[in-house]
């Protein structure tokens, strides 16, 4: 024994590092707290602007009561932002205006972050090096959950501080406890979709599939919540995470009971995630997916055809979503008109958001519907242009570019494909809204809706162009630039609807230069200028892309 010990060379002194068992959790927390904080600040700005705006538009209880009577029966708005509760108070009006939107955005952040750290890291091969450390698969899963929840706590803390600050404004006057509960509602939504994203990452063997399924769950949850709000089937609110959060009602008559199912969902999904993490092989999912098949070589003949093949499923899903959103919102046009047409306040809101002027109310309502459609198409465009960069960063683009394929041809093909989906999205959105409208409003023709659809394509094409310029100049920031243009434009439009924003700031918003048809006829001149600028940006980005080094991650 002593001879063996003597034969082992003496180890040099090693540094003892802090808590190796929690290193993964700290790493994930370190990499997500910034985005969580940014979202919290955006929520704070949005809430403050809305609160001040509502206090301005509805200066007294009488104005609030009048608006409440009209807004409460609008199924279109109810489907979008939830059923109105206690609209006769500023807190109730504020909650109805902001909570659902912020919860949905928070949930999207959460599921993307969750699937990235649970499955994306594994897909990229970075996971196994971490798992080879002083941890187990279950320990690592627990760590990732802890890291993501820690960032959610940061989001909660920052937004709570901002909301409490908002509540302290004299004209707003919301109790600090209610403001903190509003922040908790958003954090609870994030927590649920972190857990759902984590569980989907264990079930399915790729990030794309896991994120797709988690997004599908969010979509179904949104749909069930909408149906619960606009039909007599209010029980639907009891079976969907977004319904639980809506019923929490943080700013008015808070119903704490709905925290329980939310926490149960988090614990349940989180527990299953940790359980499955220890049962499956690295690189596989709990749900078996066929790992082999006969070759199907259709559409594998060129870079462009391959791009069509590789993105066709997600493209079809996006296109279906555009058509459904168009149809859903248009189907509520008559109900919206009958409930809101007489409301000066509602008219004022619509005027602020979609600049509807004195136009018929149905057109103003559809202008808002097309703004939502337009935003959805822009989100697709930002994601798709980010995927181009991902092809370069991962090295997959090299497979084409070391062969007789020019960079211009490759980039033009990918860009054209996104453009095609954007164009089809605008057209399908218009067709969907025409079908949804179903003759409810005789003065809105198919041509009018088609024009609105074409008009909705314009900002999305500009987003693509902004992304391509970033791809040429700052490739590692492509998706950030695309989303920054979209986010800033949306933020300015929303702020402008609530408070007086200087014109020069409004001018920096892409959406400020778009007429939200059919609330008003599209400004084809303005659209043409935007498209011309987009074309110039595309050309500049492509030239720069052609001249720079290809860059990895």
């Amino acid at each position: 024994m002593s001879a063996i010990a003597a034969s082992i060379p003496r180890r040099p002194a090693l540094h003892t590092l802090r808590s190796p068992a929690t290193v993964i959790g700290r790493l994930v927390g370190r990499r997500t707290w910034r985005s969580a904080s940014i979202w919290a600040v955006i929520f704070g700005i949005y809430t403050v602007s809305k609160a001040v705006g509502i206090a301005d538009v509805y200066p007294n209880a009488a104005a609030l009561r009048t608006a409440a009577a009209q807004l409460a029966s609008d199924p279109g708005l109810n489907a979008l932002v939830g059923a109105p509760r206690n609209l006769d108070s500023l807190a109730g009006m504020l909650q109805w205006n902001i909570a659902a939107i912020m919860v949905t955005l928070g949930a999207i952040w959460a599921l993307l972050a969750s699937t990235k750290y649970f499955r994306g890291e594994e897909d990229a091969g970075r996971w196994e090096i971490l798992l080879s450390g002083q941890t187990t698969a279950r320990g690592a899963a627990l760590n990732v959950l802890a890291g993501l929840f820690a960032s959610t706590i940061v989001l909660f803390a920052v937004s709570a501080v901002l909301f409490v600050g908002m509540g302290a404004v004299k004209t707003v006057n919301v109790a600090p406890g209610s403001s903190v509960l509003l922040a908790f509602e958003i954090a609870l939504g994030c927590g649920m979709f972190i857990a759902i994203g984590a569980l989907m990452s264990e079930l399915l063997p790729s990030r794309g599939r896991a994120a797709g399924l988690a997004a599908g769950i969010l979509g179904v949850s949104f749909l069930l919540r909408s149906m619960g709000d606009i039909t007599s089937a209010t029980w639907l609110l009891n079976v969907t995470p977004l319904g639980w959060l809506e019923q929490l009602s943080p700013l008015t008559h808070a119903s704490y009971f709905w925290i329980l199912p939310s926490l149960a969902l988090i614990v349940g999904c989180g527990g299953l995630t940790v359980f499955f993490a220890g049962r499956r092989d690295l690189g596989s999912g709990v749900i078996a997916v066929s790992d082999s098949s006969k070759p199907h070589t259709r559409l594998l003949n060129s870079p462009l055809a391959a791009a069509v093949r590789l993105t066709r499923t997600s493209s079809v899903i996006w296109l279906a979503a555009f058509a459904v959103v168009g149809a859903l919102y248009a189907s509520f046009t008559n109900a919206a008109v009958s409930s809101l047409a007489g409301s000066g306040a509602a008219k004022q809101i619509f005027q602020h958001i979609v600049h509807s002027g004195n136009t018929a109310f149905a057109r103003a309502y559809l202008g808002l519907a097309f703004l939502i459609l337009l935003m959805l198409i822009c989100v697709y465009a930002a994601n798709a242009v980010g995927a181009i960069r991902d092809e370069e960063a991962s090295g997959r683009a090299d497979n084409f570019l070391v062969r007789p394929v020019s960079r211009m041809r490759w980039l033009a093909g990918r860009g054209a494909l996104i453009g095609l989906v954007v164009v089809c999205g605008g057209l399908l959105g218009a067709i969907g809204s025409w079908l949804g409208l179903g003759g409810q409003s005789s003065d809105i023709s198919f041509t009018t809706l088609l024009q609105a659809g074409v008009n909705a394509m314009v900002p999305a094409l500009f987003i693509v162009a902004a992304g391509i310029v970033a791809l040429g100049l700052w490739p590692r920031h492509t998706i950030v630039v695309a989303y920054a243009v979209l986010g800033w434009s949306f933020l300015v439009v929303m702020l402008s609807s609530g408070i007086n924003v200087p014109v020069w700031i409004q001018d920096t918003s892409l959406l400020h230069h778009i007429v939200f048809a059919p609330a008003a006829p599209p400004d084809w001149g303005s659209d043409a200028v935007i498209l011309a600028i987009a074309a110039a940006l595309c050309a500049a980005g492509a030239v720069r892309f052609n001249r720079r080094d290809l860059q990895g991650e």
Binding site: D123, P205, N399, L401, V402, R548
Partner: protein, 304 residues
């Protein structure tokens, strides 16, 4: 014999900000040659290949493939070239065969019968999805896709990365076969045995600069001749013999390195009646280490 080179670079230079990636590379590779490209990590091997292929833009200088400038006429210059990168990144949802089909179609020409032969040779299961392949299996896609094109020039950047020894043998067989067909091969690697057995000429890169280029025989002068001898009794002292260094004595056995004329050390050894005597030329590994030092790192700059 003085035909235009298949691959030609002229003062090809690449800086990453102030860091030199490649320094004034002048290189010619001729038809039918197998040229090895050797250097430690970070020496500039991949930078060279990516600059030649036009994937990165040189700071100055130029590269030509078949007389075509790769920066100004990138697509045309790629038509007779196949590239095997060291890292294999493909689309996880496609199968191996679908990936091979796509890469072949994009290249423009493939010998399908040879591709099937290569699939067998590399024992590759092409029916599985790329996401399920190991690193070695993904690398087989690169090898099969490139070799099946029968391109006039094969550019390889650490092509056996991830392959097992049996597949490495299959790779070497494929390279010999390609050379036999008259294909030109530019092979970057730091597997010295691979380069020694396959290459007609070898270039050695140090800190972005090509410090040696020639046949192995031409490069032998870089390192000393190794001499070993065994005696009945104590070996003679060789430390003070002209040109001798690194003398190691183990009992009756002595090993040393000899630079320059071998006569003086031969005379001393012969005078002491050796039982065995062996002299051998330096291997590529010894040549490489003589340039980089035992640690494999760049030695301090020579004052000359």
């Amino acid at each position: 014999m003085t035909s235009a080179p298949v691959l030609h670079t002229e003062r090809l230079t690449k800086y990453y900000r102030s860091v030199v990636g490649l320094d004034s590379l002048d290189l010619d590779v001729h038809q039918g040659e197998v040229v090895g490209y050797l250097g430690p990590n970070g020496a500039g091997k991949t930078t060279t290949i990516r600059a030649i292929l036009g994937l990165i833009k040189p700071t100055s200088g130029s590269a030509e493939l078949f007389g075509i400038n790769t920066q100004t006429h990138t697509v045309e210059s790629h038509k007779r070239v196949a590239y095997i990168p060291g890292e294999a990144t493909f689309w996880p949802g496609l199968t191996g065969m679908e990936t091979l089909h796509l890469l072949g179609r994009v290249h423009g020409s493939v010998d399908l019968a040879f591709r099937d032969e290569l699939i067998k040779r590399f024992d590759f299961d092409s029916s599985r999805k790329v996401r399920t392949y190991s690193k070695g299996n993904r690398q087989k896609i690169n090898l099969i896709a490139a070799l099946a094109t029968r391109a006039d020039l094969l550019i390889m950047d650490e092509p056996t990365s991830g392959l097992d020894p049996i597949m490495e043998q299959a790779f070497r067989h494929s390279v010999v076969e390609a050379k036999g067909r008259g294909q030109t091969i530019f092979l970057s690697s730091h597997i010295l045995e691979e380069l020694e057995s396959l290459c007609d000429r070898i270039g050695i890169l140090r800190a972005g600069k090509l410090v040696e280029l020639g046949t192995l025989a031409e490069m032998r002068h870089l390192s000393a001749l190794t001499v070993e001898a065994t005696f009945e009794g104590q070996p003679p002292s060789l430390d003070l013999v002209a040109g001798v260094s690194d003398v190691k004595v183990e009992g009756s056995h002595v090993t040393c390195n000899v630079r320059g004329a071998i006569d003086p050390v031969l005379r001393v050894i012969a005078d002491h009646h050796p039982i065995t005597f062996l002299s051998r030329q330096p291997s590529l590994e010894e040549l490489f280490l003589s340039l980089y030092g035992e640690s494999g790192h760049v030695p301090p700059a020579n004052p000359q």
